[in-house]
Amino acid sequence: MATTGEEALGTEQPGPSAPVLSARDMWKSYGRVVALRGVDIDVYPGEVLGLVGDNGAGKSTLIKCISGAEYPDSGTIFLEGQEVVFHGPLAARHAGIEVVHQTLGVAPQLDITSNLYLGREVRRGGFRGSVFRMLDVRTMRRQAAEKVKSLGIATIQDITQAVETLSGGQRQAVAVARAAAFGSKVLIMDEPTAALGVRESGQVHQLIASLRDSGLPIILISHNMPALWDLANRVAILRLGRVAAILAPAESSMEEAVAIMTGAKAASHPPGTNG
């Protein structure tokens, strides 16, 4: 099963259906613990790729390797067909791979605009910007309002509100907006609703759906199987550091996925054949 990466590589062709992000034969071990044993993953434009697996299956490690937080022992990553190597999360981010973490990655006391632009503030033109390093607060606020509106986060009305005055779902929406707003190519969401209540999770799921429909490819890690079955086009099941199966929610049941995940059932489809 671990050798199917070769086949998948062969099927890689340029064109509209070419994957935006591909990881090939990813290996990673921590001391004697092998977390990834040759994982292959493709993400296509406009799809949500679900990523599930039991604890220790290698989900987090895979995501860390793709997003530059960890360096894989071996394996290659292709972004839009180009081989890329990331030395740190910032490099991955600059290349267009954004990660939304389960812990709310926003500064609670800063307002929404400051959070959206944190680390990429816009300065004013002229000497006020170059000499006095003055921020262009007005432009940032206007663009932030537009971005929030275009993402359909209707419940956010005041862009100058401190994030801590927002509900958990709205806060996560701000984190998602920040990740999606700046020309990112792939959005990775690591259990974005794990810290949220049922209703707030629903808000975030809606946001994911609208992002998917706008064409942004998303890798979604979640333990919330019903939500995954709702949102994902394909679900990759990791088990013991390998892709055990890739299922299409339209054709497979959640029970099947759980069975494969836990090893109770061997995968009926070989991985890489898209269900």
């Binding site: 500064a107 400051s114 005055t165």
Partner: protein, 378 residues
């Protein structure tokens, strides 16, 4: 099959509780109404909620109210308290502490604390005095070296905090002792006078010595300030601007607010924290200049309460000890409040023991208020 995830894990949210410490049951109840409630909340939450929101939005408002109120009370108790002469005097007495509190504010915004602030200021002025008085270095050069030395020692604090990752409380507790000891060793505990003696020092006009320039008096009618006061005000304006209008300022808040979020946003948090201590150190160097101008000599025996007083002023000024919240103008109000109590209690003729008591109550009230404001919900 033993590893099969439990049903509740599959269908509902799991993982750690959200940052706010609200019981789960209450949380669910809250979420059930959250959407509808958010739009109308301010209407039926009552005046207390409005006040909380107001104070949350404007961190300097609380300190300003306390300042106006306390100044008014002392004016009632001692008519003439708010005469221009007295205000002038208070500002002059405030200049050193007020300048130090600027650096302390920025450090506390990063969720740090600087216990060595007064000791570093004293050491910086000992260096300036030693160079200018005993070594015959040009006063301007001595000043520049002194300020640079402050920045360098700030870098020591910053590097130990940000790179070695020691708690700033411990780092600056250590450097408090180190700076104090070096300062005393350098001077042998003696005060240095310009021109060799206390009398000669007073004869030297401040225009002939750059180190004494901050003691120059400027009068508009009966309102008299020193250039040291103006320097302090200028520092407040500069750093209020820097905090509010530059990316560096935003990053200072972000780092103190949520270190991880700041790192994830791509801010080089370690360098940023170190840079804050460096800037603060340079400000302490400038405060040393204000101090020299004010007393006209260089002495290691300056009240050692400056270290804690600067923290008091910053906290009363509405800056949170936990970082990320506060504004520069609030610190100015905080320092003014301390000074108003200082002078006011003295003029009213209250036993000097009551000053620390009043300050203590103010500090605790300020932190309690900060806790309440931060508990805001929407």
């Amino acid at each position: 099959m033993a590893n099969l995830p439990r049903q509740d894990q599959l269908v509902s949210d799991r993982g750690p509780e959200p940052p706010r410490a609200v019981p789960a049951g209450q949380r669910e109840a809250h979420h059930a109404e959250a959407l509808e409630a958010a739009r109308h909340r301010h209407r039926w939450q009552g005046p207390l909620y409005s006040l909380q929101r107001l104070l949350h939005r404007h961190a300097a408002l609380g300190p300003l109210l306390v300042l106006v109120l306390s100044a008014g009370v002392f004016e009632l108790l001692h008519p003439g308290f708010l005469r221009l002469e007295n205000i002038s005097l208070m500002l002059q007495q405030l200049a050193v502490l007020g300048s130090l509190a600027i650096g302390q504010t920025m450090i506390m915004l990063t969720a740090g604390i600087d216990l060595s602030v007064g000791a570093l200021m004293i050491l910086a002025q000992m260096i300036m005095g030693e160079l200018a008085i005993n070594s015959g270095v040009d006063p301007v050069l001595a000043l520049v070296i002194g300020v640079a030395f402050g920045a360098l020692m700030g870098l020591v604090n910053g590097a130990l905090t940000a790179r070695v990752r020691l708690p700033p409380f411990i780092v600056t507790l250590g450097t408090l002792g180190i700076f104090t000891a070096i300062g005393l060793r350098l001077s042998g505990g003696a005060t240095l006078f310009f021109g060799g003696s206390a009398l000669a020092g007073s004869a030297i006009s401040s225009s002939s010595n750059a180190l004494l320039w901050t003691g120059t008096f400027l009068s508009i009618g009966s309102f008299t300030v020193t250039t040291g006061v103006l320097l302090m005000v200028a520092l407040y304006i500069v750093f209020a601007y820097v905090l509010a209008w530059t990316a560096w300022g935003r990053h200072v808040y972000a780092v103190g607010d949520d270190l991880n979020a700041a790192r994830l946003a791509g801010i080089r948090v370690r360098s940023l924290i170190a840079s804050v201590y460096v800037v603060a150190g340079a400000i302490y160097g400038l405060a040393a200049w204000v101090q020299i101008g004010r007393v006209g000599s260089v002495s290691p025996d300056i009240s050692s309460t400056l270290n804690l007083d600067s923290i008091t002023a910053v906290v009363i000024g509405g800056t949170s000890l936990f970082g990320g919240r506060g504004v520069m103008i609030g610190t100015l109000f905080g320092a003014l409040i301390v000074q108003v109590f200082n002078t006011g209690l003295e003029l009213v003729g209250v036993n000097a023991l009551y000053l620390p008591l009043a300050e203590g109550i103010l500090v605790i009230s300020a932190v309690a208020l900060d806790h309440w404001i931060r508990a805001i919900k929407d």
